[in-house]
């Protein structure tokens, strides 16, 4: 510690090297998973740190044949697309309407949506299942979609509202004077200006839905839900013998798309996820 005080003026990479090492140790569990995904189970138990003798690609074949992960991957992607598509149409319209227009109910609506930020999932969980059963869509993808979108709306509106207050309103007023209807004004003029914010929303919810296990597991019920992590969990609970190599292969494949996107656009990812700070 005292060493750093002396070298303060001319940066000497002691701090960098120390932090890099700490960071590598920090992600060591992930590296271990990657390494062990290419081994046999006995190899893993004998020595988890050793390099694989010969890469076992059949571990990865197994997660598609044994765990049946191909279909859930498609399902998860479709679910991501549907939820994000709904959120970025419904959310910004409502946010704009609440922030910009002098509605008598604007303040009230704002409080109404903000309250949703502190409702824990446990409160709505059981009544929501009953409600879905009454409508006749219990344990369906439609039910899960409705839940994801409604559950995501408060934060989506909150993020868009914060962004909207920083955009000057002259453009919109000009459009309105030109005789553009309000809905048209929104889509033609305002929505394109919100693109950075929309990117944040896409990253945040894409990641959240791909990674979600809990809510899909509860809303989709015991047997029907086939999103990626629910399927992985179901497989692990069915197995009597835990085969670490298969677990690691599954973990690696399901984290690969997220990791690839993260490496490609780290800045955007960090900004997008930090936007979730309001929740």
């Amino acid at each position: 510690m005292s060493g750093r005080g002396r070298t303060r003026r001319q940066p000497w990479p002691v701090l960098e090297i120390a932090l890099l090492l700490a960071g590598l140790i920090f992600v060591a569990p992930c590296v271990l998973a990657l390494l062990n995904a290419f081994k046999t189970n006995t190899e893993i138990i004998m020595d988890p740190l050793a390099m694989p003798r010969s890469p076992r690609w059949d571990n990865f074949a197994f997660i598609f044949q044994g765990m049946k992960l191909a279909r859930p991957m498609v399902n998860s992607l479709l679910m991501c697309a549907a939820v994000i598509g709904s959120l970025v149409t419904i959310g910004p319209m409502a946010a704009w309407s609440i922030v910009r227009r002098r509605m008598a109910t604007g303040r009230l609506l704002r409080m109404f949506f903000l309250a949703g930020l502190i409702v824990p999932f446990q409160i709505v969980m059981v009544p929501l299942l009953k409600e879905f059963r009454l409508i006749g869509i219990e344990f369906t993808y439609l039910a899960l979609l409705l839940h994801y979108v409604s559950w995501g709306l408060p934060m989506c509106i909150f993020i868009y509202s914060a962004f909207l207050t920083a955009i000057p309103r002259e453009l919109e007023e000009a459009a309105a004077i030109d005789g553009c209807g309000q809905v048209m004004t929104f889509w033609r003029i305002v929505f394109p200006l919100l693109t950075p914010c929309t990117a944040t929303i896409v990253i945040f919810w894409g990641l959240w839905i791909w990674n979600d296990f809990m809510q899909a597991f509860i809303i989709m019920g015991p047997s029907k839900g086939q999103l990626v992590f629910v399927q992985l969990w179901r497989f692990l609970n069915d197995q009597y013998v835990r085969n670490w190599n298969h677990i690691f292969a599954g973990v690696v494949v399901l984290s690969a798309p997220v990791t690839a996107l993260y490496v490609l656009m780290q800045r955007r990812f960090v900004a997008g996820l930090a936007a979730g700070a309001v929740k």
Binding site: V27, A94, G116, P127, I177, Q182, S255
Partner: protein
């Protein structure tokens, strides 16, 4: 494009038609959001509070109104008390670590000049992983027979220190905390880093001229400037701790016994696994009140800060 039009006065096609068009626009713009949110968040939440006054047991029987009986039962419920204790234990560790641990890390990361993106990227990375992935990795590390931690301990001759980290009641709480800390450290650190970047360079330059060491820079400049984020992070960590749920489901499921049951997990256990929806709703009502108090305190603090600014 609209400059010419702006000079001519806007037509007034009658007040009634105007306000009708306004109302219609409001319905188109706000309608879907209000309908979805009211139907699938507010309505079930409200129903939950109604159920907390009944003895509803699930899917078949009709609920009976029982007044505050559920809340009276709660006062004497030993499992609930244990769940509250465990939740507070975890929340304390979470708040302290994410308020101060990530503060120290952020200040260190802020001083790096080379490999900045790489180093930060490593610490943030676990946060983009699913909690199920974190859970599986930590279950593997902590496994008694084949786990990496025990294997390493045995190899360096400290085999006596090997523990069943996840099943031993003395260790399981720390095991869960370690997983949470690993998973979310990057998130809380990022909030500090964002705040650190807003500190004007002039302050550091002035401190440099005065010959201030890194510790007094931290104590005199960085810490005071970071106070807003210290506040935000501690509140976020508090909410995070009170809501602790998924991490329990994917690791210990409340076990061994009900040693690691959190309040949120207890609600799930009662409502989904034991068909005591009425009672579960009463517990979730108590949890909601706790979260409301935190939110109210947060709003009060922000108000005060705005006044002092």
């Amino acid at each position: 494009m609209a400059i010419a039009a702006a000079k001519t006065p806007t037509p007034h096609p009658g007040r009634l038609r105007n306000s009708l068009r306004d109302a219609l626009a409001s319905v188109v713009l706000c309608g879907p959001a209000v309908a979805l949110y009211a139907g699938f968040v507010v309505l079930p939440a409200a129903l939950g509070f109604v159920y907390s006054l009944t003895d509803w047991t699930g899917w078949t029987t009709r609920p009976h109104f029982v007044g505050l009986a559920n809340f009276r039962e709660l006062l004497a419920d030993e499992r609930f008390a244990a769940a509250v204790r465990f939740t507070l234990f975890q929340t304390t560790m979470i708040v302290v670590f994410f308020t101060f641990g990530s503060l120290v890390l952020a200040v260190l990361l802020d001083r790096t000049r080379r490999m900045k993106g790489l180093i930060r990227g490593l610490f943030f990375y676990p946060y983009v992983l699913s909690i199920l992935v974190s859970a599986l990795l930590f279950k593997y590390l902590a496994n008694y027979n084949d786990g990496a931690v025990n294997l390493l301990l045995r190899r360096i001759g400290l085999g006596a220190w090997a523990q069943d980290w996840m099943m031993d009641p003395a260790w399981v709480g720390y095991f869960i905390f370690a997983m949470i800390a690993w998973n979310a450290l990057g998130f809380f650190t990022t909030l500090y880093l964002a705040n650190l970047q807003t500190i004007p360079v002039e302050l550091y330059e002035a401190a440099g001229i005065d010959g201030a060491g890194p510790f007094s820079v931290f104590a005199r400049i960085q810490l005071p400037m970071l106070m807003p984020t210290v506040m935000v992070n501690s509140v976020l960590a508090l909410i995070f701790g009170i809501n602790l749920f998924g991490q329990i489901v994917v690791t210990t499921e409340g076990g061994p016994g009900y040693r690691t049951m959190t309040v949120a997990y207890y609600i799930y256990w009662l409502g989904v696994k034991n068909n005591r929806q009425g009672y579960a709703s009463a517990v979730s009502f108590v949890m909601f009140v706790a979260l409301m108090l935190v939110a109210a305190a947060q709003v009060a603090m922000m108000r005060r800060r705005q006044v002092t600014l």
